[in-house]
């Protein structure tokens, strides 16, 4: 249908980003194709070691899903996006397709083994999330292609994660965010995935910070070393949310805190992670 309507048509999912952009005249499509009335596009299920989310699953549905709690990063992310009203409308598929540099989902999911299922005129295809997000507001989706499902592999036993964002108030985009997934053997970190949000054109994988943790006993010294690598990996723009240096400092503080939560969760502890407001 989008193919018939031409280049100036756009899909409308939850609308919590697109409708404000329309009001600001940052987006000016001639046609909107509303996906909200299509049955079967909102679901959460577990299959073959992975959680599957229908593209139109609302953030609030994921926040309250017992299945989604199996992956802490997912629950942290869903429960912290904006506010109740936005979470009741906004969708996981819409957030990924929007690829806002300050969006929560891409930063959180990129630390996990995440596949994005897409559907277009020529059929379906599956794109790994790291190949799906191309640039700020730019994905691998063709103009007439949409996201149908997001598939997230459940991390192995002994793995724990956390997603933390700092926001000036609930409804605004975070000033900075950090996602961590650690696989532990006792006190030793076997594997680490670290992503930084809102401090670059896309979520940034802090690979040097990951290397700083792998094979190490996690203590103040090794965690600080990883946090300094993350500071260097961040590439923030100064704006109304703060200077570049301030955002780098936020990344350091958030990462230290997220690592500590992830370690405790890897041990099987229940830790409530909360987004931080000013």
């Amino acid at each position: 249908m989008l193919g018939q309507l031409g280049e100036n048509a756009k899909f409308l999912a939850g609308g919590q980003s697109l409708i404000p952009l329309l009001k600001l005249r940052f987006a000016n499509p001639e046609h909107l194709v509303d996906l909200n009335f299509i049955a079967g596009t909102s679901f959460i299920k577990q299959e073959a070691g992975a959680l599957h989310f229908g593209a139109m699953s609302r953030h609030a549905e994921i926040e309250h899903s017992a299945l989604a709690r199996k992956i802490s990063v997912l629950h942290d992310c869903a429960a912290g996006i904006a506010d109740v009203q936005v979470r009741n409308r906004g969708t996981i598929g819409g957030s990924l397709a929007e690829a806002d540099p300050s969006g929560d989902w891409a930063s959180a999911l990129i630390t996990l083994d995440t596949a994005v299922h897409c559907l277009g005129r020529n059929g379906g295809r599956t794109i790994h999330l790291s190949d799906f997000i191309k640039d700020a507001y730019t994905t691998a989706l063709a103009h007439d292609e949409l996201v149908t499902e997001v598939e997230v592999k459940i991390p192995p036993k002994g793995s724990g994660g956390a997603y933390l964002a700092f926001k000036r108030s609930a409804p605004v985009y975070p000033s900075a965010s950090v996602a961590v997934q650690l696989t532990m053997a006792g006190d030793v970190c076997q594997d680490a995935a670290i992503a930084l949000g809102c401090v670059g054109l896309t979520a940034i994988r802090a690979t040097n910070a990951e290397t700083a943790l792998r094979g190490q006993i996690l203590n103040d010294k090794t965690i600080s070393a990883a946090a300094e690598e993350a500071r260097a990996a961040a590439d923030p723009q100064p704006d109304m949310r703060g200077s570049a240096e301030y955002k780098r400092q936020l990344v350091v503080a958030l990462l230290k805190r997220a690592i500590q939560i992830a370690v405790r969760r890897a041990r099987g502890e229940q830790v409530e992670g909360a987004h931080l407001y000013a």
Binding site: G15, Q16, D34, V84, V86, R89, S169, A170, P171
Partner: protein, 169 residues
């Protein structure tokens, strides 16, 4: 006199919608770009739902759609076709204030009142699932509603009192 203030454009066809607002069915022809909040205020003449920021921030336009709090400035009216909407005008029953409305008054949980309808509907969603919320739970539930007068402390008290009043009914 209460026609939509959005100018007509010849190129766009109006779309038929049927929306149940506070129990009453409204079947209307609307422009596809008409926001739900404008439908409520201009078409249904229910001006208790306010427009504050118009940028999905302040929550003054919060209403319930099928029981869930949403920002009616961030949805098109055509998207609410077939839905059930509750606005602040729908809280009062038979001339009697809803326990939430009464608690906001009794606790001085408002000053200028502009944010109050939205806050009361966010409170409605919270208390429907959790009649005895902690202060932390209240803060999370109303984080999408901005008040520029009260400092929120009396709003927390009002929400806790509303929960107690509802249990007492």
């Amino acid at each position: 006199m209460h026609e939509t203030s959005v100018p007509e454009t010849a190129a766009v066809e109006n779309i038929a919608v049927t929306i149940r607002v506070n129990g009453k069915l409204y079947a209307r022809q609307v422009e596809p770009r008409l926001l739900l909040v404008e439908f409520l205020r201009e078409t249904c003449d229910l001006t208790g739902t306010h427009v504050g920021c118009d940028t999905t921030y302040c929550g003054a336009c919060t209403v319930l759609m099928n029981g869930q709090a949403i920002k009616s400035c961030t949805m098109f009216a055509v998207q609410a076709d077939g839905a059930e909407i509750t606005t602040v005008e729908g809280l009062e029953k038979d001339g009697k204030l809803d326990p939430i409305q009464k608690a906001f008054g009794d606790s001085y949980g408002l000053q200028c009142g502009y944010c109050t309808p939205g806050l009361m509907l966010s409170t409605h969603q919270l208390l429907a699932h959790n009649p005895e919320p902690s202060e932390k739970e209240i803060r999370k539930a109303i984080a999408g509603n901005t008040c520029r007068c009260t400092g929120y402390m009396n709003i927390f008290k009002a929400i806790q009192l509303a929960g107690q009043n509802m249990k007492g009914i």
